[in-house]
Amino acid sequence: MPVVTLHWEELERLVGADRETILAKLPMIGCDIERVDEEHIDVEFFPNRPDLYSVEGVARALRGFLGIETGYKHYEVKQSNWKILVDECVKSVRPRICGCVVRRLEITDEVIRSLMEVQEDLHWTIGRNRRKMAIGVHDLRVLEFPLRYTTVDESFSFIPLDFEEEMSVKEILEKHPKGKAYSFILEGYSRYPIILDSNGEVVSLPPIINANRTRLTEKTTDIFIDVTGFDKNVDRAINILATMLADRGGLVESVEVIYPDSPEITPDLSPSKTNVDIEEVESLLGFKLSEGEIISALEKMRYGVNVKDGYFEVLVPPYRADIMHSWDVIEDIAIGYGYDRIVPDYPRTATVGKTHNWNELRDIVREVMIGLGYMEVITFTLTSEKVQYSYMRRKKPEAWKFYTPVMHPLNEEHRILRTNILPKLLEVLSANVHYPLPQRIFEVGDVVINMENKLNLSACSTHARANFSEVRSLVQAVMRELDLSWSVKECDDGAFIEGRCAEIVVDGLKVGVFGEIHPEVLENFGIPNPTVGFELDLSMLNTGELI
């Protein structure tokens, strides 16, 4: 989630309140304050509120919330003659484009920096790393209108931002830092989206890079913004930028985007409308608010409200990208009313509690194992083929049918889900060789076999005199407590010393194994003392239904 750095001085000035008031109220509109110092405040805003990624946006929201300036804020868009002609060919690459001109801005270094920050935050969040939406900001003076949004092939060349030489599109995608970072978005295309001015000069190669010549300078007062992409996020982004710059004192002028089939005027800074049913407010919040309270709360959250019969027609500001459903507005009513004013009420929902067999069984097994002098441990379920099989002198079984490999593991230790717990316990012993012996540990928990969870119990004991009869006694005790009649069968398991291990057989099925751990296994794990252990699959007991 984006962390926005706000300057106290600017924020206090734009809000019209002191920093104590701001600090106290800011969290109650929905954000996490990350850091506060003399000059700045770092705030993490939620990804559904990209309109709060600038100091102007935060000030606008706070003025409402603090009651300094409430209700819907109208933004003027001056109709003008700026035009973008859209060619049919962009449809298959990056179909949507919006434009906007903002004049009479005072462009300082600070403004450029803050504009770039907002741009990056928008790219990352609603732009999904520029895939869905990308923004270009240009100096209006150097552009000759009408612009043309079309496609070119990879040999087309121009001077990209921060470079002095012409580069072809191919070179930009391969060598320019932004090209390398975002070329994945254009992968698989043979023609690339481009914005040209009427002289045929490049404005931008979206979503990669602008032309160098359109960059903002301290002399810039008028800017042109293009936003390209696929869906309504394009409109959201341009609305957020236009309203933010309007709040900074800029005059917003519209741009006519002429698609092959129809023209469109952008940005559209008129409100959208959502109807909110009064009863639904009460139903969702669980308590009754008066009409006046609802209106006041909505206006604090900068909505416009028209009271209708039994419902409110709510005017949603053009910069709000998150209102998909009337419940989104109702949440804002709750926020505007104040979460701290809501009286919590324990729900009357009458139900009877019930445990799950899986965990009941685990508790029973824990009781037995602890009674037998074994300490419970918890280990990761992510592990490696090496630990599960080769260290154990066991043959690696078949993937999927038996064990589960994960894609893109983060490291060599976490490549698969465990199918056995015993190797994890041996890992624990190897990490604890410096503590007094004997060490006796167990874990009763999940293993994943054939992509489904199973419940296993494993225990081991290490000390100078650990031997087969110790572990046999242990298994005898466990099986006695679990009321299982069982028998042993000779087994061929590399993890144990030959002739000193046995399969546990219940109802003719192998359900476990126990014995003296093979010295080579001990060596693999780095365990210096004789060690015995067992592992038992508990699925013959009732472990309950899994979802």
């Binding site: 919040l285 459903h325 602890i370 983060l410 239904e545």
Partner: protein, 477 residues
């Protein structure tokens, strides 16, 4: 105060002086124990420990030879019966032995020498031989005799140190016997009666032993389970591996949401069909809800929803994959369910981030419940967890609306965010046919462990350190 050993010693020995061996034999106590007790009695003024050195004499090789073959002077006296010529005698005896023999006879005043002849003037006594025999037989002889034999190097000695205990006084107070180890015999015979038990030095630490016990983390989980059960919730459990459908799509997470990136989620290279019934009833509705909101009143995300993405398996990133599926299978209110289990995130390990950890989640499905009931539930839950002060801030989670971030007050730390909560969006519940509203909340158990156990490093929970487990007390204040 006297220990039973000390009492036994005094009683068995009485006044007098005893070697340690004697005392041990008489009192029926081990030699070492006698010694220890004697020193203690000495400190208490009842006894004195005396070390005496005794000599044990034995014959030298020369001594043995003389005892065997007679003394040189004895031999000489015998030879004097045949001749008294010095030269001749020297020849017969050998010069050295002759010298010794003559020297001793002269010392005893038995011979005189005149003109190279030896004349016996009185019959000498050869008592040395008897002395030697006495020593060889372990008998005692007089000091002077010993001196003589030592001087003639016919005997030598080893020194033995002997320790004696001298009981000076038998205390007048009644000597009461103390019991050290209570034995089965003492109980059976009743001999412990009228005796007192020796008081031990209770300040001396004994050897450390360690309790086998639950993992401290499991104890926290157990506490959470208990709270849910007390509140009437049903425990549910699901597989770690889930289709993306239940982990993401059913929760209205858009398919291009960053949380669904390979970067953050462990995907499996495996696609499954959902079961037929599910596909028929849910998939189309979920698709429509994503694309255009279906009949939920939502705008939807727009774009195309891809069933293939929903079919891919993932290691579940939250337990909500299980709760939402459970609610889909149990859509009629009232339902209260909880799940505490392992979830996975593709995060690089450090002290506060783990690729797998445990999460707690509770849901309430009912008609006629709303946001204030969610807050009521949360407050009750946290109070039961021991957090008396709870407050609520707006939050954001993709599948809840309204959303809330609960905070609890912790001494010395202030307000701590603890989990997240909200009411499931209509875009989540309606396509699955869930009737009523779903109040939901969840939190990472690791966070609780950090607060409860004062842990700074979450790795310790899953990479057990036996020293820490052994030392970690069961009771937490």
């Amino acid at each position: 105060m006297l220990s039973p050993i000390e009492v036994t010693l005094i009683k068995e020995l009485g006044k007098g002086k005893y070697s340690v061996d004697e005392a041990a034999k008489k009192a029926g106590i081990k030699r070492d124990t006698v010694l220890k007790a004697s020193y203690l009695l000495q400190e208490k003024g009842y006894a004195e420990v005396i070390t005496e050195v005794t000599r044990r004499y034995f014959l030298t090789d020369e001594g043995k030879m003389y005892l065997d073959r007679g003394l040189p002077e004895e031999k000489l006296v015998k030879l004097l019966e045949d001749t008294n010529d010095i030269k001749e005698l020297q020849q017969k005896m050998g010069k050295v032995e002759f010298g010794i023999a003559l020297g001793w006879l002269r010392k005893k005043g038995a011979v005189e020498i005149r003109d190279g002849k030896i004349k016996l003037v009185k019959k000498p006594e050869f008592k040395e031989k008897e002395w030697l025999r006495a020593i060889a037989e372990g008998k005692k002889i007089g000091e002077n005799e010993l001196k003589t034999l030592l001087k003639r190097k016919l005997i030598d000695f080893d020194e033995d140190k002997e320790i004696y205990v001298l009981i000076k006084d038998v205390p007048e107070v009644e000597i009461c016997e103390y019991i050290s180890d209570l034995t089965p015999e003492l109980i059976k015979s009743g001999k412990w009666k009228n005796k007192k038990f020796l008081k031990y030095d209770i300040g001396v630490p004994a050897k450390d032993i360690f309790a086998s016990k639950l993992h401290p983390y499991e104890r926290i989980i157990r506490e959470c389970r208990r709270i849910f059960l007390e509140m009437g919730f049903t425990e549910i459990k699901g597989n770690y591996i889930q289709p993306a459908f239940w982990n993401f799509d059913a929760l209205f997470q858009p398919q291009d949401h960053p949380a669904r990136d390979m970067q953050d989620t462990f995907y499996l290279e495996k696609y499954v069909g959902l079961n037929k019934e599910l596909e028929d009833s849910y998939v189309e509705r979920v698709r429509e809800t994503h694309e255009n909101g279906w009949i939920t009143g939502s705008t939807g995300w727009g774009g195309k929803w891809d069933f293939n993405k929903a079919r891919q398996l993932v290691l579940r990133t939250h337990t909500t994959a299980i709760t939402i599926h459970y609610l889909a299978l149990n859509p009629e209110p009232p339902v209260k369910a909880f799940c505490i289990d392992r979830v996975y995130r593709r995060e690089t390990i450090d002290s506060t981030h783990l690729p797998e950890f445990d999460q707690l989640e509770g849901v309430v499905l009912d008609r006629g419940v709303g946001f204030k009931h969610l807050l009521g539930m949360l407050r009750e839950f946290f109070i039961k967890m021991g957090f008396e002060d709870v407050r609520f801030r707006p939050g954001y989670f993709p599948y809840t609306e309204p959303s809330v971030e609960p905070e609890v007050y912790v001494e010395e730390l202030g307000w701590i965010e603890l989990g997240g909560a909200g009411i499931f969006r209509k875009e989540v519940t309606e396509p699955l046919g869930i009737k009523g509203k779903v109040l939901a909340w969840g939190l990472g158990i690791g966070r609780l462990a950090m607060l409860r156990l004062g842990m700074k490093d979450l790795r310790k929970l899953y990479q057990p350190d036996l020293g820490w487990l052994r030392d970690c007390p069961v009771v937490r204040r």
